[in-house]
């Protein structure tokens, strides 16, 4: 038993308050008549909204409700009534002209009685019946009866209309957009499910409520503008400027309602998510652009038409245009070949720049756009150009250079060999003279003959040497053709820590015939492999674990390896590359331009450079090997000294002539270097060379023995003679002033003298040691003095 039934028990015979809701004025009149005739209080209203208004203050016992109402769905109104606390026990009679067709589940809604609208006479009876005995009538209806259907039948047309109406409602109710119907004065008549949830109010609290009042005060004027009928179609609340309600954001538009009642349909869309997304996007775009504004690369945002939408300050500077002209001008669709593409940029002032462009496709304000970053590579291009020019020049001049070097070597060698020939020739000529003078003395003659023969042999040896030089040492290089051929087998060592990069290197290098590739993943491995496999060329990624390119180049230098080295750099590392080249690398390749052609050209160049370097080095070594003179002092070098000492000693023993040797050392020479620098030290040594030259006799052999040590071989001179001569030298040195830019330098010399002990088969070293001992004593006893070896014996 429901609450309504309980209430009915007590209301049967009393005067009841009754409300009639029906749009038909005839029906209303008729109903008012019967009801008041039956002694009850009655009110009638023509539509749902009026009903809701009346129900605010009028609480009926019975309601007669036509569910087909002009302004709102009767079923909905029904639910609202039932939801009202003060009406939950009201006795509701639903009456309608379409009850048969609709076969409503009105009982489920909680209607007490269903009454079909039929002929007035029939209705009169039924209504009186209800008023007399509502309880029993309700019981009949609960059992499934519809009152007043005795003389009416379902109409097909109405059934179909109702079915399409249901279909329409179903769609309306399930729309994600909120649909509301408003009265001309802006009160809510209808809201679909979505609208109800947007508005966050129950139907009861919403129906008849002014739509504007739902919103916060600050938004009401906007909403009221929206629902002013003359604004419909021309005014809306757009997606990008929505109105907040219940913590969500809504865009709204109105549809003009064409019915004569002037109702308005409002469509609400929840754009909260969209707004959040678009705001997040906007703020991330703004953030991105803030960063971009600090880029040193020029950045241009070109829209889908290729027109510049935004530029950063670096782009303004790079293109030499003002921002206002720039934005809106046509940049074009970027077309890249690979990762990047180079552009010539002519600024307004007419300066030419080279830019390197890379692009990213992005979405900008909902459209596809292109972000082009352009880096000023003018300086790098210039550098590359310079490098290429230099390379070409090297290639051009290479053969000429090698020829010049060869000639130089030849000349220097011939100078050296002429010098070599000088001595045996003078021995030869001298002995011929001696032989002539002593032609009566057969013993002396034989001795001379012996000397002549030896000198002749030495001359012949030297000439053979010269011939060897011509034939083998400086044979002409690759006459005419290319000097280095990349097609010959080239063993490349790639020092590369990144697997990815190495795979690129391998795939490109493998496409070049004749390249054998070995990989080292660390610097240690690299150095080890350099020793183990002796590669022809090293390809070095300048950043890798265990050190960087600089360390590696230094380590190679320490190892004295002279292998062509190509640096592999990332984009924009040209400065590093150029520093590495200064350190000793031969060339560089950027990872972005790692293609067959660049590699072949680069490898060919560095191999040629390397060869040229090697040739020159070999030539220099030969020169120094052939040389007999010390470059700095102009005296004989140590190698020549040793040879000469051996020769002279043999000669002195053969001829029973004395031979003296003195070894001398500058005093406190280190101080000169330390205080005045090596330049001054060198000048002192050179000056000493001049003093010694000046002092020595024609037959003496003055040499630079070590750093600041000198040695003089004094043929046919005994110890005393040598000591006196050395004393004279000591004095000359002490009085000499070496001219230097900071002022004259004074220096002294200590000298140790010894004489070869004839007949004693001392080694050469013993002889030198004795002179060294004497020198040591001279130093010990205060420097700037001459000491003679005590054990020297003059043999007659």
């Amino acid at each position: 038993m429901n609450a309504a039934e309980v209430k009915l028990e007590t209301m049967d015979e009393k005067q009841q308050r009754i409300l009639v809701v029906d749009d038909d004025p005839v029906i209303r009149k008729f109903m008012e008549h019967i009801i008041s005739d039956a002694g009850h209080e009655v009110r009638s209203v023509p539509d749902g909204l009026s009903a809701l208004d009346v129900l605010h203050f009028y609480h009926p016992h019975i309601i007669f409700l036509d569910i087909v109402l002009p302004d709102m769905d009767g079923k909905r109104l029904f639910r609202i009534m039932r939801d009202k606390e003060e009406l939950d026990a009201v006795y509701i009679v639903v009456f309608s002209g379409i009850l048969l067709e609709e076969k409503p589940d009105i009982l489920n809604l909680g209607a007490d009685v269903l009454l079909a609208k039929g002929p007035i006479s029939e209705m009169d009876q039924q209504i009186r019946k209800i008023l007399r005995n509502p309880k029993s009538v309700a019981a009949r209806c609960r059992a499934g009866e519809i009152l007043g259907t005795d003389n009416i039948y379902p109409r097909k047309m109405t059934t179909e209309l109702l079915s399409s109406n249901r279909h329409f409602s179903l769609i309306l109710e399930n729309m994600s957009q909120g649909v509301l119907e408003l009265t001309p004065d802006g009160r809510i008549l209808f809201a679909n499910k979505a609208a109800v949830s947007f508005l966050g109010k129950s139907d009861a609290k919403m129906m008849g409520v002014p739509f504007v009042s739902i919103f916060d005060k600050e938004n009401r004027s906007l909403v009221s503008k929206l629902i002013t009928p003359q604004n419909s179609e021309s005014f809306s609340i757009p997606d990008d400027n929505p109105i907040p309600l219940n913590n969500r954001l809504f865009s709204m538009e109105t549809l003009p309602y064409t019915s004569d009642r002037g109702h308005l349909t409002v469509i609400m869309s929840d754009v909260t998510q969209i707004r959040h997304e678009s705001e997040a996007r906007k703020s991330s775009e703004e953030r991105l652009w803030r960063i971009i504004n600090h880029f040193s690369d020029g950045v241009i945002l070109a829209n889908s038409e290729g027109v510049v939408e935004m530029v950063n300050p670096a782009a303004v500077k790079l293109f030499g245009r003002n921002r206002e002209d720039f934005v809106g001008s046509s940049f074009g669709f970027p077309l890249l070949a690979g990762e990047t593409s180079e552009l010539d940029i002519i600024s307004r002032e007419g300066t030419l720049k080279v830019g390197e462009m890379r692009t990213v496709e992005i979405h900008w304000e909902g459209e596809k756009a292109c972000l082009a970053a352009i880096r000023d590579i003018t300086a790098r291009k210039q550098m590359e150009e310079d490098l290429r020019n230099a390379n070409e020049k090297i290639l051009e001049q290479q053969e000429k250079l090698i020829d010049e070097e060869r000639l130089k070597v030849l000349l220097q060698m011939s100078g050296a060999t002429a010098h070599e020939l000088n001595q045996p020739l003078s021995v030869l000529l001298g002995n011929i003279d001696l032989m002539r003078a002593a032609k009566d003395d057969p013993k002396e003659s034989a001795l001379c003959m012996d000397e002549i023969e030896k000198a002749g042999r030495r001359i012949s040896d030297t000439i053979k040497k010269i011939q060897n030089i011509r034939h083998y040492d400086t044979k002409p290089y690759g006459s005419g053709g290319r000097i280095v051929n990349i097609e010959q087998k080239l063993h490349v060592l790639s020092i590369e820590d990144s697997d990815e990069d190495f795979n690129v290197i391998r795939s490109v290098l493998e496409s070049i015939e004749g390249i054998q590739l070995t990989r080292a993943a660390t610097m240690e491995d690299g150095l080890r492999l350099v020793n183990d496999i002796s590669p022809d060329l090293i390809l070095l990624d300048y950043l890798f674990p265990g050190g960087d390119g600089f360390d590696f180049i230094r380590a190679l230098k320490v190892e004295n390896k002279d292998i062509p080295l190509v640096i592999l750099t990332g984009q924009g590392d040209e400065m590093v590359a150029s520093r590495l080249i200064q350190e000793g690398a031969d060339d560089y390749l950027t990872k972005s331009r790692f293609d067959r052609e660049s590699i072949s050209r680069c490898f060919r160049n560095v191999m040629e450079k390397g060869r040229l370097k090697r040739e020159i080095r070999t030539a220099r070594r030969k020169i120094s090997e052939m040389a007999t003179l010390d470059e700095l002092t102009g005296l004989y070098n140590r190698r020549f000294f040793m040879e000469a000492l051996e020769r002279e000693r043999a000669r002195s023993e053969r001829h029973k002539k004395p031979l003296s040797l003195c070894i001398m050392d500058l005093d406190f020479f280190k101080r000169v270097n330390d205080k005045l620098g090596h330049g001054a030290g060198d000048e002192v040594l050179a000056d000493m060379g001049r003093v010694i030259q000046k002092w020595s006799r024609q037959t003496d052999i003055p040499c630079r023995y070590g750093g600041e040590e000198f040695a003089v071989i004094l043929p046919e001179t005994d110890l005393e003679g040598a000591r006196i001569a050395c004393e004279r030298l000591r004095q000359m040195v002490a009085e000499n002033r070496v001219q230097w830019r900071t002022g004259p330098i004074r220096i002294t010399i200590s000298i140790g003298v010894t004489q070869n002990k004839a007949g004693v088969k001392d080694s050469l070293h013993k002889l030198i040691d004795r002179a060294d001992e004497a020198l040591y004593r001279a130093k010990e006893e205060g420097r700037n003095q001459v000491k003679a070896s005590e054990r020297s014996v003059v043999v007659a």
Binding site: S330, G332, F333, P334, L335, D344, I345, G350, G355
Partner: protein, 91 residues
């Protein structure tokens, strides 16, 4: 056949970029479009006043003046066909 094709290629001097672009675009044009229109090559170092006129920001730039709407591409045209594709021109 559609409207006549009018193309202008802007370069600056005899840089490698210019040479590549001229070669690439001329080759593709001769191959596909020669009968259908004209290709003009403009060196902005020789005719700098044309840069402003045509609003060329950087070179190489290839402009399709006809058929309208005017469209342009900028960048590396060593593959001239790609440039023509971007301009929606096909032989």
């Amino acid at each position: 056949m559609g409207k006549e094709v009018v193309l202008k290629l802007f370069v600056a001097g005899k840089t490698t970029r210019s040479i590549r672009a001229i070669e690439g675009v001329t080759l593709a044009f001769d191959e596909c479009l020669k009968e259908m229109g004209t290709l003009e090559i403009i060196d902005l170092l020789e005719q700098p006043q044309l840069a402003d006129e045509a609003q060329v920001l950087a070179t190489p730039t290839l402009i399709r003046l006809s058929p309208t709407p005017v469209r342009r591409v900028i960048g590396d045209f060593s593959d001239g066909k790609k440039a023509l594709d971007l301009l929606e021109l096909k032989g």
